[in-house]
Amino acid sequence: MEKTLDLRIKLFGAFRKYHTGSLSLSVADGASITQVKDQIGQTLRELVPGFRDDELIEKSALATNRRVLTNSDCVNESMDLAILPPVCGG
């Protein structure tokens, strides 16, 4: 049986329109960034019946507390991540 990992995904910026707090989801060990983002979309659609903002997920990045993940990264432990829409600080 394939091992699964538990992820907690913090939501920021425009995601707060849809859900406050964070998402809990499970992915396969070694899941790619794209797979994690797909899972985030699915979880949001379950939680928020009207959610159709796939473009927001598409344009967002995943990150840990220390760095933004790239498409060559993958997930191989249960951990906290954040999904980050395009930024505009300052």
Partner: protein, 162 residues
């Protein structure tokens, strides 16, 4: 001697005096302070306030990286103060303060400008504008890409195409 950093995300009003006091240095003859404030209009809409959402841990990490990059470019002796506000501000409220001091002025100006430009593109901070008509909207921004120190973490399983 390496200069000092003060890096923060604050829910209390930002203090220009604290910034100026922090960077003061008897060996430095110049300081540049950038103050970002909430203005009363944007893209033709009348604004009454802005809420700032900040991913604090990664923002502070980004600030640390920017300090390292600024010192690599403009001198290790730079003193650097960066604070970003988190929460809601009215018009005129200070959203960001960046202050840099250096022996000579060119380095202060360039490092301060560099830091604000990079923050706009790299720091995980978002703003939601509140309009006088009661509406509010998350402002479109810059898509993040990874800049941090390269700490490649290998995959345990291969996912072709990703």
């Amino acid at each position: 001697m390496e200069g000092l950093n003060h890096l923060g995300v604050s829910m209390a009003p930002l203090s220009t005096e604290a910034a100026i006091e922090f960077i003061a240095d008897p060996e430095h003859g110049a300081a540049d302070l950038f103050i970002g404030t909430v203005r009363n209009h944007n893209l033709g809409k009348s604004v009454k306030g802005v809420s700032y959402d900040v991913y604090e841990e990664l923002t502070l990490q980004t600030f640390r990286e920017l300090c390292d990059e600024a010192r690599a470019n403009w001198g290790k002796e730079l003193n650097i103060f960066i604070e970003h506000f988190q929460g809601r501000l009215d018009i005129g409220g200070i959203s960001i303060l960046i202050a840099v001091s250096s022996p000579h002025r060119d380095e202060s100006f360039k490092a301060c400008r560099f830091i604000i430009e990079e923050i706009k593109h790299r720091a995980p901070i978002w703003k939601q504008e509140h309009y006088t008509d009661g509406d509010s909207e998350w402002v479109q921004g810059h898509a993040l890409c990874s800049h941090g120190p390269v700490t490649y973490e290998g995959c345990t399983k291969d996912h072709a195409g990703h």
